[in-house]
């Protein structure tokens, strides 16, 4: 039989706007998140956190707290059982932050755990934590890279050594100096916090001395299992991590943080299951953030607006130990046809925890700089923002010379412009009024890479016509449960109700976590590979079965579509997988397979050099395609010239993201991405106090995220796109794409409304008013 026959295989439920299969559990309150798993004997853990950002603990007085009723133990650095290893001692630590608090008396950031109380009720643990008296010898902390005490340094490598801190292509400075149009600007991005609705939580259950189950709010159960195995010195299989439902993550639950191991150690110490949920305040100092950062972009173009050079530098804050920073440069490198490019990262250590990937890490802030500058140049040259983007359209990826695996950006521009009514836009800024409000229209490009990933899945088809499909993935709310049910249904020719898709457990086959937009494409490919394994087995049974219409056929001549096996040359001749299975007398049949996403898939199916034969560009290097999704955002704002308030009044997003597995959930995800970006553009900012390096607005009253009344109708469409190179079903992830370019589209619309360029996010009313006081 044919394997890896993808692509244009008929679908029945894939792509359909199926209601979420986990929806009934979520709308009835039956869905249990990690802190809601009921385990008999569970006691409550509460963290006490440091009030200073730098210094050492001179004493911890727990005597009053210990006298409270119901207190089981109070753990501090003095009596916490030590893990087998700390992150620093792990050869290749898999998480963002390599520092583990409560190992000694040092304090390195505000809000760092200094004690963990375990009590029989949450109230008693909380009360006791408040009664612990910690005295510190405080030192003056460094609050950010702006701090006069801070020293910017060249990290050489960023993101745990995965990326270079310098990238140069061509001769960017010289090209900039000689450019007809030279534009230079600095963009500021505030500290942002992911702020998922569900606070991070750990329920640690020691099933025996060397057997641990952890119910964790995890975007990646395999990562949590591996990190725990490293720290505890236990074999991975002795640690089970379970996440059946997770209340959002946006990146912050895809890394390993101190509270998880502290809870596990506490559970060991008290020999009882311990449940610990971070408070909302602790969510601001417990699970990372998007770092405060500044980008300077020099953009050189020809007199007709064609990019000749991009010189990009980024300065940002990082922690005392790690060199994490978002790689903003990569989208500048690839988004347009620009022959010369460079990016440089500079970091400064401050007394903050390590920042971490937050939805569209790098692409979101990077595109803000690129797309704002391009808008400025368009305005300077009297070009329509769409026109300047078309003039710089990249027919191949200039960052590496590779052809695109697929790209539908022109269609996205055209369709978005049509839906939005872009042709009615007033080109001259500050001219469009609605009553006393200034109206503006802006747009920006979106793109996100298809990262390499792989995973496994298991498919068990039962003779009664139902199936259980398993992969250790997670569903952040992104629809994994639902779309994988659809993929499985079509793979086996069953109705979705006949599929039970299980995820979120390290006992299931290893799958990637939800992050980097890899889950949908990878898990779908894994399921298809596992289904192929089932097909193979059933075809072999059928061709050996006298009662089968396929008796004595060669397996290579048999094709399987929608659960039906048939002769490729005579499609009438065939039967369903289930029919053959029933005759065999076997109650069920099981298959497993490994699916790849991105470059690995292409290499496996098209060979190292299986690049597009039509691509003859000189820059083309050997080997494969560049894989990205693309899209375009169109935004209308109303700006109140007296109050400085900005309201989004219309939004259109059109995207090309390969095969859309479920139109309903995919549309919701793109709407959510746009709104997440609107938050970053207009309101999200965590303030770190310059003197004390503490957050001053660490809760949901102080950290403003969009509410319902902030958001207008949002139109989202996908353009049809087929991509054979990226994975079995041609799926491109969409978790991040919808957010990329959003802040720039908002800023560009504000520029169109007011004639003022706001380069400092979030664009709050004070900044708008200040800008309006300046001449346009």
């Amino acid at each position: 039989m044919e394997t890896n026959q993808t692509k244009n295989a008929p679908t029945n439920v894939v792509g359909k706007p199926l209601d979420r299969v986990d929806g009934p559990a979520k709308v009835t309150g039956a869905a249990r998140y990690s802190a809601e798993i009921s385990v008999p004997g569970t006691v409550y853990g509460v963290l006490k956190t440091s009030t200073i950002a730098k210094g050492r603990i001179t004493s911890i007085d727990t005597s009053r707290a210990a006298k409270e009723p119901g207190i089981i133990t109070i753990l501090t650095h003095e009596n916490l059982p030590k893990p087998a290893k700390t992150p620093q001692q792990v050869e290749k630590w898999r998480a963002a932050q390599s520092y583990l608090p409560m190992q000694d008396a040092q304090v390195q950031y505000a809000g760092q755990p200094v004690a963990l109380v375990v009590a029989d009720t949450l109230e008693r643990a909380t009360q006791a934590a408040a009664l612990i008296n910690v005295t510190y010898q405080a030192e003056a902390p460094i609050d950010s890279f702006h701090d006069p005490k801070a020293e910017l340094f060249d990290p050489q490598k960023i993101q745990q050594g995965k990326k270079d801190s310098h990238v140069v292509r061509g001769n960017p400075q010289q090209a900039f100096d000689g450019a007809a149009i030279r534009h230079e600007a600095t963009y500021v991005h505030a500290i942002n916090h992911h702020s998922p609705m569900e606070p991070a939580a750990t329920l640690a259950v020691w099933e025996g001395a060397d057997k641990l189950t952890v119910y964790e709010s995890s975007q990646n159960v395999t990562m949590h299992q591996g990190a725990l195995a490293d720290l505890l010195g236990m074999p991975r299989e002795q640690i089970r991590v379970v996440t059946k439902y997770i209340g959002g993550g946006f990146g912050c639950k895809g890394s390993f943080w101190p509270h998880t191991i502290l809870t596990v150690l506490a559970a060991k110490a008290v020999n009882r299951p311990v449940k610990l949920a971070l408070t909302r305040q602790q969510m601001f100092t417990g699970v990372g953030h998007r770092e405060d950062q500044e980008q300077t972009l020099k953009m050189g173009t020809t007199a007709d607006g064609k990019l000749v050079s991009l010189v990009h530098t980024k300065r940002a804050t990082t922690s005392p130990w790690d060199n994490y920073t978002e790689s903003n440069g990569k989208i500048l490198d690839m988004l347009y046809a620009c022959p010369n490019y460079s990016t440089t990262y500079e970091l400064a250590r401050a007394n903050v925890m390590t920042s971490v990937w937050m939805r569209a890490p790098g692409e979101a802030p990077g595109s803000f700089a690129l797309e704002s500058s391009l808008d400025d140049v368009a305005n300077q040259l009297g070009l329509d923002p769409l026109e300047i983007r078309l003039r710089n359209y990249a027919d191949y990826d200039h960052s590496n010379g590779k052809p695109w695996s697929s790209k539908s950006l022109k269609q996205c521009y055209a369709r978005g412009a049509e839906l939005f009514g872009w042709d009615k836009r007033q080109a001259k800024p500050g001219q469009n009024r609605r009553g006393r409000l200034l109206v503006g229209h802006g747009m920006a490009t979106a793109s996100y890479p298809v990262h390499s990933s792989q995973g496994t899945a298991r498919v068990r088809l039962f003779a009664d016509g139902h199936a259980v499909v398993e992969a250790g993935a997670t569903d952040l709310g992104t629809g994994t449960y639902t779309v994988m049910t659809q993929v499985s249904a079509d793979a086996l020719g069953l109705a979705p109700e006949k599929i039970r898709f299980e995820l979120g457990d390290t006992r299931l086959p290893t799958a990637p976590g939800s992050g980097g937009s890899v889950a949908a494409g990878t898990v779908a490919s894994s399921i298809m590979a596992a289904a192929e394994d089932v097909w193979d087995k059933v075809v072999k049974m059928a061709v050996a079965d006298k009662k089968s219409p396929l008796y004595k056929a060669k397996p290579a001549d048999v094709k399987v579509e929608l659960g039906r096996m048939f002769l490729t040359k005579d499609p009438q001749k065939g039967e369903t997988l289930v029919a053959a299975l029933v005759r065999s007398g076997q109650p069920d049949i099981e298959g497993s397979g490994t699916g790849k996403y991105g470059a690995g898939y292409e290499e496996k199916n098209f060979g190292q050099n299986g690049a597009d034969p039509n691509n003859d560009s000189k820059e083309k290097k050997t080997g494969g395609h560049s894989m990205h999704s693309f899209g375009a955002h169109f935004c209308e704002v109303e700006v109140d010239p007296d109050l400085g308030t900005v309201r989004i009044t219309r939004w259109v997003g059109v995207h090309g993201a390969g095969t859309v597995l479920n139109l309903k959930t995919a549309t919701s995800q793109m709407i959510g991405g746009a709104i997440y970006g609107i938050g970053a553009a207009l309101m999200e900012e965590t303030h770190r106090d310059a003197s004390f390096a503490r957050y001053t607005n660490a809760d949901l009253a102080g950290y403003h995220i969009p509410v319902n009344a902030d958001i207008p109708e949002i139109k989202v469409e996908f353009v049809p796109e087929s991509d054979p190179y990226i994975n079995y079903l041609g799926v491109k992830g969409i978790g991040e794409l919808g957010m990329v370019g959003v802040a720039a589209a908002v800023g560009n619309a504000i520029f169109n409304a007011t004639g003022r360029r706001l380069r400092h996010l979030p664009i709050t009313p004070d900044k708008v008013l200040e800008a309006l006081r300046q001449p346009a």
């Binding site: 209601d19 009835t28 309150g29 009720t121 609705m197 606070p199 959002g248 709310g477 959510g672 997440y676």
Partner: protein
Amino acid sequence: MTEPITPDTPAGGPGKPANDGSRRTFMKQAGGILGLALAPPFLSQAERLTALSRKVEGVSALSLKVNGTVRTIQAEPRVTLLDALREYLDLTGSKKGCDHGQCGACTVLVDGRRVNSCLTLAVMTQGKEITTIEGLAKGEELHPMQAAFLKHDGFQCGYCTPGQIMSGVACVQEGHAGSEAEVREWMSGNLCRCSAYPNITAAILEAAKSS
């Protein structure tokens, strides 16, 4: 002294207006230390004495009528309604997003009004009708608001969803679901970080139409 407060002995005393869930009745009910600590700025001397006369200290029996069933728990008076539901009654549908009344994930109905259960002490709600997300559906049949959320995909991760739905039910009952703009305004106390807002609004408008 521990004197359990029961629904038939309202803290206001016989002949007083029914408990309206206001700050004052709460003071009287919770009484004791909390009453003393908070009383001076708000209450008259006579009321302070009333507060002093009723104490709930330490663990005591609390009877809560949740989704039509009266259940008794042993809990301290400082236990919030949200924690009583989640940690004592194992009704985990009501969510803890912030514990400070900032996000709305914990929204339940108390005598038909939407409240943030994280800002409500369980002891205050004795004798009242508490409705949580678990009490909306009739068996397998979803409440129209639940069905509308499912149909319009009014959620992604689902963590704010019970609060959104309870708030949505109340929003319609209050007569605040007359237009898109009105729904957006009256649903802005319920945060959704996945940002399903347009779909939530569509779901509530549809449920309002059918009710």
